[in-house]
């Protein structure tokens, strides 16, 4: 059944010539030509006929499967001043994405079929790229009563999540795992033990100790990860651990996967690039939950992305109104944007220095998240729908110089110089960005 929605767009007729075609999952890495007829990849070969199609000279560029972001906050309904489905999906298109999944911690929370149905209708009118929705695990995300997961799945929920807050009760988590099994949808979990995180703003470590911030220790995440892995193992349920930040959590996930637990995990670009040292700037745009942690945590995440323990890179794109972030650090809300900068930030900080291969990065930004959430995998083979991104790995640009497509500008990269730009995006057969 359909789990992604977008507005109707014409299928593209295109020929892309001269690009290095790179689809790591299909084992393709060669200079090839690609013809797209009516939004469907018709031919991938050394030489294709242009017919009457528009021809794109992509010499020196990389053509890859477009990206899938499993963790986006579209702020709709409730905070359309910060993001709408139209603006968020336009930002995603500019970032090279062909599909995104939106979190349900909106106002009201997406915890009923009626709210979800209204969102689906809006997406069919406004979404520039295919968009899916997660529904809440508990009503109002209050952690007390389960949502009607059966009906929500029928209405189109991709998965269930109380992201933003943890499911604090172990007993309720067990019931959620039991009931979600009838829907064949994973639970996407924000793992945080509130009696350990205690509203901490910053990783409990040297920086928090020196600056005086209330600390959220690594174990505040990892004991919750271990609890939920144990429950998933016991119930045979499927879980996806959101925004991993601590080395201990990564170790737990790796052990559980080795033992056959149906668990996956994701990491964000900011956790893969920054450490809590960035907080010394007191810039509210490096404040997020979970917090930036120590270098050993960052390296553990990176290793897990390399070895596949972490299958997905997710932006946790969290737009906030300018006036809400233009305050002292402690008064600012958690969250940073990321859709428009994810690829370039990881290319420049991880791929260029040789810490991560381009192939692995492309896989974790596309096939990995698609696999976890049961979405069709973007791929460059004849017969597949065109979900493609054309990347210029040489082009340098400065974040914030051009206005964001997102309605919010709370980027952790504001003013940073990046290398690697999205030249063109095709999503579900249509050109959505160029």
């Amino acid at each position: 059944m359909t789990m992604l929605w977008q507005r109707e767009l014409p299928g593209a007729d295109l020929v892309i010539r001269g690009a290095r075609v790179l689809d790591p999952t299909e084992g393709i890495d060669a200079t090839l030509e690609v013809r797209i007829d009516g939004g469907v990849i018709a031919q991938v070969a050394e030489k294709v006929d242009a017919n009457e199609h528009r021809v794109i000279d992509a010499k020196g560029l990389v053509l890859a499967p477009a990206f899938v972001d499993p963790h986006v906050h579209l702020r709709t309904p409730g905070r359309e001043d910060e993001e709408t489905i139209a603006s968020g999906t336009a930002a995603a298109a500019a970032g090279g994405y062909c599909a995104i999944l939106a979190m349900p911690n909106t106002d009201p929370v997406v915890d009923s079929s009626a709210t979800l149905g209204a969102l689906v209708e809006t997406a069919r009118r406004e979404a520039e790229i295919p968009t899916g929705f997660l529904a809440a695990i508990t009503r109002g995300q209050r952690g007390e009563e389960l949502t009607e997961m059966g009906e929500l799945a029928e209405t189109g929920a991709v998965a269930f999540s109380d992201d933003g807050v943890p499911v604090a009760s172990a007993g309720l988590m067990r019931r959620a795992l039991q009931y979600a099994s009838i829907t064949d949808r994973p639970l996407a979990l924000h793992c945080e033990e509130p009696t350990l995180s205690r509203g901490g703003h910053v990783h409990e470590g040297r920086v928090a100790a020196e600056l005086g911030f209330a600390g959220y220790p690594s174990i505040g995440e990892s004991v919750a990860v271990e609890r939920d892995l144990s429950l998933a193992s016991f119930e045979g349920g499927r879980i996806h651990v959101l925004h991993l930040s601590a080395a201990e959590s990564v170790d737990a996930l790796r052990r559980a996967r080795d033992a056959g637990v149906l668990a996956s995990g994701e990491a964000t670009p900011h956790h893969l690039v920054l450490t809590d040292d960035a907080v010394r700037s007191l810039d509210p745009n490096v404040k997020m939950n979970p917090p930036l942690r120590a270098e050993r945590d960052r390296l553990a995440l990176l290793e897990a992305v390399r070895d596949g323990t972490i299958e997905a890179i997710a932006t946790d794109h969290a737009p906030h109104a300018a006036h809400e972030k233009d305050v002292p650090f402690e008064a600012a809300p958690f969250g940073v944007t990321g859709l428009e900068t994810a690829f370039a930030s990881l290319y420049v900080h991880l791929v260029k220095p040789g810490l991560l291969s381009l192939e692995t990065l492309l896989e974790r930004m596309s096939a990995g998240p698609a696999r976890i959430f049961g979405l069709e995998r973007p791929r460059i083979v004849a017969g597949a729908q065109a979900n493609l991104v054309l990347l210029d790995l040489e082009r340098e640009w400065t974040v914030g110089e051009q206005p964001f497509r997102s309605r919010s500008g709370n980027s952790w990269l504001l003013g940073a110089k990046l290398q690697g730009a999205v030249q063109m995006t095709l999503a579900a057969g249509s050109v959505v960005h160029e």
Partner: protein, 326 residues
Amino acid sequence: MIRLVTDDLRPPAGPPKRHLLSVADLTRDDVERLLGTARTFAASLERHVKKLPTLKGHLVVNLFYESSTRTSSSFELAAKRLSADTLTVKSAGSSVDKGESLKDTALTLGAYDPDVIVIRHPQIGAPQFVARVTDAHVVNAGDGKHQHPTQALLDLYTLQEECGSLEGLHVAIVGDVLHSRVARSLLQAFALVGIRTTLVGPPALLPRELPAETTTDIEAIRDADVVYVLRMQSERMGPGENYVPSLREYSARWGITPERLRPGQKVMHPGPMNRGVEIDSRVADSPDSLITNEVRSGLVVRMAVLYDVLTGGPVGVQALAAAEVA
């Protein structure tokens, strides 16, 4: 001392402003210059007419979002002793009560073109924020659990007056280090001038990651030249906090009593004190207590800080201060 606060995307407007935001921004030279200036002002306060014309025509705004006796009164008096105009705004009874943001309050006060804004705020980094959104020189009078740089400077001044040289002194800081901006500022200031620091207190109130010797054993204070007692913040003792089981247990294990001190061992406290909790009255009132000296130091050190942020480098300090005091 000099700290450039700019937005990444905005070209810096004019020369950088001098602020006192954190001890971390100070050099040893800055500290020595400030203490020297404070001594000069102390001498001027010995005279019959205590007011100096130094900052005549300047406006000093005191913006206090937290209650304060010592700090707010000494900043106000320091500004007045230097002939500056002063304006004191407390959050209670101001538009802050109506939900005005720090940005708007700062912009409003900034519209009066103050030369200095002295700010105390419960949130870390509020002074840095005000320095970014206004054109004033900003002095941090305490921001959350982060910094209280003038307290550290006045404590260095007090120690120097009492002990002469600071280099090689050993100070034990006792109590709730975790929630103490005074402890954080002191730790950096002591490191700058070569004072050895030992942190002593209950396990949950001693951050593991601070760059200092730490111990839970109160006996460790015996080795120190000076015992610096921190306020036991009663709001930390609320139900469910459990940093320590009770104030009674805290006093019994870490309270500073005459029995725990060596004869002649000096005692300091930033105030306000909880007599009978972290400090025994007999200690607070003994001749070895430097607590009222600290208050007196506060005035001259804050005069020096206001003077220094407004007039700049060491040459200016020596030349001007000498001329005016003479």
